[in-house]
């Protein structure tokens, strides 16, 4: 594949719904590829030792996993175009095994690339304005955002211009590329948090003050991993023109004072925990006050330039509800289920947001084949201005679909195995790759997700259960976000056996909470039984309109513990 891309010429009039590189962005990314090509060459020649090469390959998204290298491609703020999705499909076929894995941080992972091929893969990505920059390493990682950005009815402002602004600022930052540990930023601009901002190193919430001015509530020190913390407010209202200066102040404080003696205590959450948020806030404010802010003087102009790229696409003016949709739902119950579960309200009358689940019953959460990626790209072009999103729940979103088109879209998705109507339900499981791929893992996660999914394969039962977040991690690093699962599952290794610890009551949204441990670990085979018992108990106890977590909060953890203990005594094998 070369810089010549025939697709680009075939669709010259596609509307602009996301950021497009200018000559500077393009030059930067291509210089980055050239630099990495040199680094690979120098690694192979011995000029760089593996230890020296490591941070540079990580900052280009290249991990060494259990069986092979893994390349993690950034999908900044989760937005990609049809053309980019097709390129991801092509790369999977040409240099990998014909599929990719969408992750919880709006990245795509290739599990089987060869080291020598990675510069070519990066070049192929650069061709469509993509990269793998800072998807790993002890630097500011790919900035994530609400996957319903720009289309959610509850939004104050589209968070993507902010995220793009931060993507540029954080790229190859001279000062902050060798931090104590990784550093993750998430942005939301809505009343409901779909970006899990309270469990990021920095969470940004776009807010409006009393005078109608837009600014940011800045939260610091959240995170999962072996010591989970909910982030704390470090700045209540940071005006837009001060955002970068304020973030530099936080990063400088962290870079200087974050612990480097123990990698498990090196995240900013530990610094905030050990010093206390008041001391951190004082240090950040002192640093902010001492900074020469003239360098940030023209940030607002740059922000406006970026924001212009995210203008709404040319919507048709439509009635708020669609008669044909109503008719189609009556005609096909399967379609009606999909429309009820995977279709969400859109800010524009007559439009809808469609979540395409990458969690087929018994499948690998987040995986998509090249063919499926192409179907998604085609669908986005036929029904949604050629734009797609990746959610942190590892699903794909078509953000601008006419309600009138939903039936045709559903048929197209169904034919490609992409119409599982389980968005937000018990089988819409977040899972890390676990011991099947990862060298850090202590237990398998994917087979656990598959077993739970199969246990609840009756879709009408899933709908009856309602909204329920099941999240699985294969080790205490918590990539599967188990701490914030209403039901969290953590795979550990005990005396050579896989053992799964269950937690209840986790919540990644503005009402964030860390799950509480249910009891002693269980075996892999027992996990679906335990989940089923918990779900049945919830169904028996729930009051009108309560989701699993609401019932758990109302009646308390102890009752759930009790029921499981009783089940155990009654002879159920758990």
């Amino acid at each position: 594949m070369t810089a010549h891309d025939p697709e680009a010429m075939r669709r010259p009039n596609a509307p602009m719904t996301t950021y497009r590189y200018d000559e500077y962005d393009a030059a930067f990314v291509s210089e980055r590829v050239a630099e990495f090509r040199e680094q690979v060459r120098r690694r192979l020649s011995g000029a760089l030792t593996e230890e020296e090469f490591r941070p540079f390959r990580l900052m280009n998204g290249l991990y060494l996993q259990l069986h092979a290298y893994m390349l993690r491609v950034a999908i900044p703020y989760g937005t990609l175009t049809a053309r980019q999705m097709r390129r991801l499909a092509d790369i999977a076929e040409k240099w990998d095994k014909g599929y990719g894995h969408f992750t919880t941080r709006q990245n795509l992972q290739y599990n089987w690339p060869k080291l020598v091929d990675t510069p070519d893969i990066l070049e192929s990505l650069a061709d469509v304005e993509m990269h793998a920059i800072q998807t790993s390493g002890n630097c500011i990682r790919n900035v994530t955002a609400d996957h319903f950005a720009g289309v959610a009815p509850d939004e104050i402002e589209d968070p993507r211009p902010t995220a793009e602004f931060l993507r540029q600022w954080s790229s190859l930052h001279s000062e902050f590329s060798f931090l104590p540990r990784k550093f993750k930023i998430a942005v939301t601009g809505a009343a409901h948090d779909r970006a899990a901002i309270l469990v990021h190193d920095i969470g940004l919430r776009i807010v409006k003050n009393d005078t109608g001015e837009i600014g940011y509530q800045v939260v610091v020190g959240g995170g999962l991993g072996r010591s989970p913390f909910i982030g704390k407010v470090v700045g209540d209202f940071v005006p837009r023109e001060d955002l970068l200066a304020f973030l530099e102040a936080i990063l400088r404080v962290y870079n200087r004072f974050g612990r480097r003696d123990n990698k498990y205590k090196a995240r900013v959450k530990i610094l905030v925990h050990e010093k206390g948020i008041d001391e951190i806030r004082a240090a950040v404010e002192a640093e902010f006050a001492a900074m020469d802010r003239s360098a940030f003087a023209h940030d607002s102009e740059e922000f406006e330039r970026i924001a212009a790229f995210f203008a709404p696409p040319p919507y048709d003016s439509l009635p708020a509800t669609s008669a044909s949709l109503r008719a189609a739902k009556l005609e096909s119950p399967a379609f009606a289920n999909f429309a009820d579960v995977n279709v969400g309200a859109h800010k524009m009358p007559g439009y809808a947001i469609v979540t395409v689940s990458l969690k087929p019953i018994g499948g690998v959460p987040g995986d998509a084949t090249s063919d499926q990626m192409r179907v998604l790209a085609d669908a986005s072009e036929r029904f949604g201005f050629g734009e797609l999103r990746v959610s942190h729940e590892q699903n794909i979103i078509l953000p601008h679909v006419k309600q009138d088109d939903l039936l045709t879209l559903w048929r197209m998705l169904d034919a490609a195995g992409l119409a599982t109507a389980n968005a937000g339900l018990v089988s819409d499981i977040i899972s890390c790759p676990g011991l099947d791929y990862c060298s850090l893992a202590t237990a398998r996660s994917i087979p656990i997700a598959q077993a739970i999914s199969k246990r609840f394969s009756d879709m009408s039962r899933q709908r009856r259960i309602g909204k329920l977040g099941v999240k699985i991690s294969g080790c205490i690093n918590a990539c599967g976000h188990h701490h914030v699962g209403a039901i969290g599952i953590l795979g550990l290794e005990k005396k050579g056996q896989e053992s799964y610890q269950i937690t209840l009551g986790g919540d990644p949204t503005f009402s964030a909470s860390i799950g509480e441990i249910l009891g002693p670990g269980v075996t892999a085979e027992q996990v679906p039984d335990v989940v089923e018992h918990l779900v049945d108990y919830y169904l028996a106890e729930r009051e009108e309109g309560e989701a699993f977590i609401d019932t758990w909060r109302r009646i308390g953890h102890a009752r759930f513990k009790d029921v499981l203990r009783r089940e155990g005594e009654d002879g159920a094998d758990i």
Binding site: E31, T49, P55, W169, L172, H173, S174, F176, N255, H298
Partner: protein, 168 residues
């Protein structure tokens, strides 16, 4: 030790004094941080000297001596320990105008970062210089034509270039 300046390996005009060594009357020399106060006290205003400091040093500990210092060398205990980059920024912010040196096992790929944060020179051990020759340092220096950050030294800023282009 090898010294890199402007993408070239150069002769080091400075000498690091051992702590037991007496302060010389002439020449360029570098003292350790514990000896700095004494050196400032006894050396005449024309003496040319510098200090080597750990990367955990508080800039306030150097403020009083800054006008007297011709060189500050910041130790990098490991190449991936980025504290020295922030310390360099803070010393430049305190208007230190002399030579700022990064000393440790920095790799060539970090050269743009060091320049960006205000360093002038990089001092690396000989074994590292053998593997990473002058060519690699020079090419690292030229790897990027511009940078996204503002207020950092070295390469031009993309933001400034965009503004200029928009206005012309």
């Amino acid at each position: 030790m090898a010294l890199i300046s402007d993408g070239r390996f150069i002769e080091d005009a400075w000498r690091r004094l051992a702590d037991e060594e007496a302060l010389p009357k002439t020449g360029k020399f570098i003292v350790s941080l514990p000896r700095l106060e004494h050196a400032v006290e006894v050396l005449g205003p024309t003496a040319t000297f510098g200090v080597i400091v750990p990367n955990t040093t508080e800039p306030s500990a150097l403020i009083a001596a800054l006008p007297r210092l011709d060189l500050i060398s910041i130790a990098f205990p490991a190449f991936a320990d980025g504290r020295g980059f922030s310390l360099a920024r803070l010393l430049r912010r305190a208007e230190f105008k002399g030579e700022l040196r990064a000393s440790g096992r920095l790799v060539a790929d970090q050269y743009p970062h060091a320049i960006g944060c205000g360093f002038d020179t990089i001092e690396i051990p000989d074994d590292l210089a053998d593997r990473q020759d002058e060519e690699q340092w020079r090419s690292a220096l030229n790897a990027y034509s511009m940078s996204y950050q503002r207020g950092y030294a070295g390469r031009g800023s993309i933001l400034e270039a965009r503004r200029k282009a928009a206005r012309s």
